[in-house]
């Protein structure tokens, strides 16, 4: 090969190389996804979604409030096992639930799953169960907050009744709810991490100082599950997991709607389950299995603090009390938002009067839903105060457990909806996600629900022959029937609105814009609706 020839070949090669570079760059350019990246920057990753999910059921509230309440009122020591088993059942439920969430655009809440999977009539019925359930959970928490805050203030030398404290919290929640202030993101994350840290420290202290000098694992024995009472207690544990429904609401806000939400939901369930189960076990070990019920009855919500107090510095107990209060407050706020959001979605879909679908222009707060919940809460708190009922047992325990029953009914029907949804079409989900897990979840939840309906009276230690033993379950049935009836009426009266059911806040076309109210929403004499576009 001559020099010229070599030169030629080199140049030829260079051309090829440059060409290849350009080609490669062109490919890279089309892969460079500006849109996804720009959107992802502003969106939530797995940890943020988990925070949202777990914060709703603030772990400290559940562990210090709910767990000691169960020990006190029930006397059954299977609590740790109950939390772990519930977490297991809900994990299985989550598999199908999350798989279905991938196929429903902008899925709002459980009821929209039910209307997609089992039809709109049952969807509306579910929504009518969900509203009182979440409302009761929130109102019940006011009782806990009142008692705890009055105790803390009492220790500081301020004498305030639980009622006064509950009213204070109520006013704050009502105002923040109207302003649609979200304790989201960083505040919530910091609080949650602090709470979890405190819980872990307390657990370690309790485990390190067991009653009788040795650790007791008998509270974890699986044989306890044979008793129907224990299965019924799972309804109480459900209260510790309610937040995980909220993760799916965020699917449009997630970095990768397909994966982020699935992971975050699983994490939320596992985190809550393990934390609560571990703590409940630690409490039982520290107090001693035989004594834990008596200790819980004596100390009530101070149970954990009294158990760890001899072994940790005073400051850590004070931090615990403060975090306990903020945790209940965060839960109050989260539930308040959840309830008003529910009402907003229902209002937008036309299931509630259209006024409920109205949001404050600047803040985006679902004003009417927020006010409704606040008024309802105030009425209930006032009633309890006037009747002089014990806020811890009758307000907190009864209402949250009854709310938990409603949420359990929702989860149970959602698990049926998941089966129904994938029976029609598997939508490229694998057999485990689309078939096996939903069926197992449905069966397990059916058992828990049946046991709960039978054993609710025992769980709440109601007297034998009390009407409340069956009236609560019956009330949910009544609400469900009302919802179904309302859906049937709507199918005839407002077919366009009926067709929109299940679309969540996405729903509502321009044809249904309500006639706007006057600014400042004073009562106005005109409530005629616009003629819809034909």
């Amino acid at each position: 090969v001559t020099a010229v020839g070599r030169h030629h070949r080199t140049r030829y090669n260079t051309d090829q190389w440059a060409g290849r570079m350009l080609m490669a760059r062109k490919d890279a350019a089309s892969e460079l996804d500006i849109i996804s990246r720009a959107l992802a920057r502003n969106r939530l990753g797995v940890p943020s979604v988990v925070f949202f999910g777990v914060a709703g059921a603030a772990p400290l509230t559940v562990i210090i409030g709910a767990v000691s309440a169960i020990y006190a009122f029930n006397g059954n020591t299977a609590v740790p096992l109950v939390y772990l088993v519930t977490a297991g059942v809900l994990s299985i439920f989550t598999v199908g639930f999350v798989a279905m969430s991938r196929h429903i655009v902008n899925s709002g809440a459980f009821y929209s799953y039910i209307s997609h999977g089992l039809g709109r009539v049952l969807g509306v019925a579910a929504a009518f169960v969900a509203l009182p359930a979440y409302a009761m959970m929130q109102i019940g928490l006011f009782g806990l907050f009142g008692v705890v805050a009055s105790g803390v203030l009492g220790a500081l030398g301020v004498n305030a009744s639980w009622f006064a404290c509950a009213l204070g919290a109520w006013a704050l929640v009502a105002v923040l709810g109207m302003l649609w202030v979200d304790l989201s993101g960083k505040v919530l994350g910091v609080l949650l991490i602090a709470e979890i840290a405190v819980v872990l420290v307390y657990d370690a202290v309790m485990v390190a100082n067991p009653a009788g000098g040795s650790l007791d694992f008998s509270t974890l024995a699986p044989t306890q599950l044979a008793s129907p009472d224990v299965v019924a207690m799972m309804v109480v544990a459900i209260g510790g997991f309610v937040g995980f429904e909220a993760t799916v609401v965020l699917s449009e806000e997630a970095k990768d709607p397909k994966r982020t939400i699935a992971r975050a939901t699983h994490w939320a369930v596992l985190l809550a389950g393990l934390l609560c189960g571990l703590s409940a076990w630690a409490i039982a070990s520290a107090a001693g299995r035989a004594n834990v019920a008596a200790a819980a009855q004596a100390e009530q919500t101070n149970l954990v603090f009294s158990l760890v107090a001899p072994h940790v510095p005073e400051a850590l107990i004070s931090i615990g009390y403060v975090l306990f209060m903020t945790s209940i407050f965060a839960a109050l706020l989260a539930f308040h938002a959840a309830v008003s959001r529910y009402q907003f979605a229902l209002g937008r879909e036309g299931m509630l009067p259209t006024a409920w679908g109205y949001t404050h222009p600047r803040t985006g707060a679902p004003v009417i839903g927020s006010i409704t919940q606040s008024v309802l809460a105030l009425l209930v708190i006032m009633t309890y105060w006037l009747l002089g009922l014990d806020p811890l047992l009758y307000l907190f325990a009864w209402l949250t457990v009854t709310g938990g029953l409603g949420v359990l009914i929702l989860m149970w029907s959602t698990s049926a909806a998941v089966i129904g949804f994938f029976v029609r079409h598997r939508r490229r989900e694998n057999v485990w996600r689309a078939r096996i897990a939903p069926v197992i979840a449905f069966l397990l939840l059916s058992i828990i629900l049946a046991a709960t309906v039978i054993g609710l009276g025992e769980v709440l230690s109601m007297p034998e022959g009390s009407v409340f033993r069956w009236v609560l379950s019956a009330a949910y049935l009544l609400f469900a029937l009302l919802g179904a009836g309302w859906a049937l009426i709507m199918r005839v009266a407002k077919p366009e609105a009926y067709a929109m059911i299940g679309r969540g806040a996405d729903g509502r076309t321009l044809s249904e814009i309500p006639e706007p109210r006057r600014p400042h929403s004073h009562a106005d004499p005109f409530s005629t609706h616009m003629p819809s576009i034909k």
Binding site: I35, L510, F526
Partner: protein, 212 residues
């Protein structure tokens, strides 16, 4: 121009703040920008997807920029994705465009940790022009006059994002306008109507979540 009109309606003329939740305003502006391209015949909307009809650059720099982006990112066709993407900086970009025509002036505000540039009318003349935007739309609707297609889209976006009460603030005087509003929107071509519906849905879900 459509998005300019929407901007002036959606922001307070005295403080430059958004009258709506910032995300709702962003979505409204994004939809207005896309509508401009639809009105110019550059893109179409069908079944939730954006279709490029004409690659010739529009005269307006911002519209040109957005069309280029739509062409460069063919893997994204979903209207809601584009609404979400464009809504992120729509307020600033439309503000800049308004600044170029002299309708607003940039005002930099120092906030706690960051500075924020607001575009707001500053002179009396600019204020008048800004206040005229909602008044003009209300006027057209109240009188039941024939609306141009661009004004009908504007009315639709105003309704979809929740600004109706601001534009038609006088309940008695504007009562008739509430009734002519749906028919104004209903008579739009299907792509624009679809775009407005998607905007409303996006605003709904953004508000449901309640994040900023």
């Amino acid at each position: 121009v459509l998005a300019d009109q929407y901007f002036l309606i959606a922001h307070e003329d005295r403080t430059g703040r958004s009258r709506l939740h910032p995300r709702a305003t962003g979505l409204g502006l994004a939809a207005a920008l896309l509508s401009e391209l639809v009105l110019e015949g550059r893109i179409g909307v069908a079944d939730g997807d954006i279709i490029i009809l004409d690659r010739h650059p529009p005269g307006d720099a911002l519209a040109h920029d957005i069309l280029d982006l739509l062409i460069a990112q063919p893997q994204h066709r979903d209207v809601r994705t584009w609404l979400a993407f464009l809504s992120q900086d729509a307020a600033g970009r439309v503000g800049e465009r308004l600044m170029r025509v002299g309708a607003v002036e940039p005002v930099t505000r120092r906030r706690m940790l960051s500075t924020q540039t607001l575009y707001m009318p500053n002179s009396a003349e600019q204020r008048n022009a800004a206040a005229w935007a909602p008044a003009r739309l209300a006027n057209l609707l109240v009188r039941g006059m024939e609306l141009t297609i661009s004004d009908r889209v504007l009315a639709g976006l105003v309704a979809a994002t929740g600004l109706t009460r601001h534009v038609l603030y006088d309940f008695e005087m504007h009562r008739h306008a509430f009734h002519s509003l749906p028919s104004a929107v209903g008579s739009l071509p299907s792509d624009l109507r679809e775009l407005i519906e998607y905007t409303e849905a996006s605003v709904g879900s953004a508000l449901t979540v309640g994040r900023r």
